[in-house]
């Protein structure tokens, strides 16, 4: 068996999907999102993407959040060799900081919806977070490829939902965005959602969803 070290992220830009004013409101709340105004100051969602939502894609009443604390700057290459109880958040806030993975809290869905998102992680960043979180509480290293197998379909769905809401709303009307989220979930229900679980069918699902977006835009 190959010894599998914890991942040293390839670069800060690969870790984040967006930061500060680049964060799209169209993107559904996901693990790795850092929000201002939860856990006292900032908090990071650490719940599994499947576990944080119930029926119809609605957030559960409370969602697990890790507080963001002041923490020393950790070079990317040093991530595998220590600092196991945190997920460093490089180049995010004025002072070096990290999500504290051992002192979890939870936030209500109302808090999360009202909070300002200051960062979202890329798919890769989410897998790195999950890997560190699992290691922090179990001392077991799970490869990013296996984590991707487990969560890839949910993150693919999140990307499509973001695209749907982004294209079909102005991006600043919460009510319209909420309606389009529901419309997306309805469209995806059934066979399409099941297809997303199979990597070999994801590009086909994306084509189908994009064709529907185009149809609705021209209607």
């Amino acid at each position: 068996m190959t010894e599998l070290p914890l991942t040293a992220p390839r670069g800060v830009d690969e870790l984040y999907l967006a930061r500060h004013d680049e964060v799209s409101l169209a993107r559904p709340l996901m693990p790795g999102d850092v929000l201002a105004g939860v856990c006292g100051a900032h908090g990071m969602i650490v719940a599994h993407p499947c576990a944080m939502r119930g029926g119809g894609g609605r957030l559960r009443p409370r969602v697990a959040v890790a507080p963001v604390i002041a923490y020393q700057r950790v070079p990317l290459l040093a991530w595998p060799n220590g600092h196991y109880n945190v997920f460093p958040l490089p180049d995010l806030l004025p002072e070096p900081c990290a999500a504290q993975l051992l002192e979890l809290d939870s936030a209500t869905r109302e808090e999360l919806h009202a909070a300002e998102r200051v960062a979202t992680l890329s798919d890769y960043g989410v897998y790195v977070l999950q890997q560190r979180f699992v290691f922090c509480i179990t001392r077991v290293v799970v490869g990013l490829d296996r984590l991707e197998e487990v969560s890839g379909h949910v993150l693919a769905e999140a990307e499509l939902e973001e695209e749907w809401v982004d294209e079909l709303t102005d991006g600043d009307d919460p009510s319209a965005m909420s309606e389009e989220r529901a419309a997306f979930q309805t469209f995806l229900d059934g066979e399409l959602r099941a297809s997303l679980q199979q990597p070999v069918r994801r590009s086909e699902v994306r084509r189908t969803v994009r064709a529907e977006i185009a149809r609705r835009l021209s209607a």
């Binding site: 999907l17 799209s24 490829d145 487990v150 990307e159 695209e163 679980q197 994306r206």
Partner: protein, 213 residues
């Protein structure tokens, strides 16, 4: 008793003329080795010009594609190939946010436009060099070898288009291409062979140790 008809019977040829020439094993080995060496030399000679022609063709197509509207290029990637924005961002070596801004009408630099065109030209070439690749986006998103997490998209982002086309055409083993990319790939980008993903009782995927699978 009637007399037997007279028949002219040709004499048997000399023994040397009937015997199939026999090659000694050592001579046979030398001849086949020579043949293999010759084939290798010819293959080596053909590799460089083939690579150059292949890359020149890709560049030519990218140049033509780069003249198109940005929206058409993005449409080719997303509508034609069903590519994820994350994968497209990786191929063009930008952040997903940059791709989102392009979708919203923000300008693209000439360098990135060319790179985007190259990515689309590459996807078209994939299906040509191997008609069995019907989903170029999937091919790019999958690991190149079961022992690694490295994908075609990762190598494309680093400029290894010639190697990828050879792998796609099955002229080159993926392991050999990965050796060229990084001799340490089996360690540095190792796949997790200790765990497997199964479907749990709730119908959702779960990671379990390989021995329990």
């Amino acid at each position: 008793m009637p007399e037997a008809p007279s028949v002219t019977i040709r004499p048997l040829p000399d023994l040397d003329e009937t015997r199939t020439p026999q090659l000694l094993p050592v001579e046979l080995r030398a001849r086949t080795a020579e043949l293999r060496d010759k084939a290798t030399r010819i293959s080596d000679q053909a590799q460089e010009p083939h690579t150059q022609v292949q890359l020149a063709d890709l560049e030519r197509r990218a140049t033509i594609l780069a003249q198109q509207e940005l929206s058409d290029l993005l449409s080719a990637a997303c509508d034609e190939y069903g590519m994820s924005w994350n994968t497209l961002a990786q191929l063009v070596a930008v952040t997903p946010t940059a791709v989102r801004k392009w979708r919203k009408g923000q300008a693209i630099t000439p360098e990135k436009r060319r790179r985007l065109a190259l990515a689309i030209a590459f996807c078209r070439a994939l299906s040509e060099v191997n008609p069995r690749i019907t989903d170029p986006a999937l091919w790019l998103e999958m690991p190149l070898h079961r022992a690694t997490t490295l994908t075609g998209a990762a190598l494309f982002a680093e400029g290894y288009t010639d190697l990828l086309l050879d792998v796609a055409a099955e002229r080159l083993e993926a392991a050999a291409a990965l050796d060229t990319y990084d001799a340490d790939w089996r360690v540095r980008y190792a796949a997790d062979d200790s765990h497997v993903v199964v479907t749990a009782d709730d119908g959702l995927p779960a990671v379990v140790p390989r021995t329990r699978a």
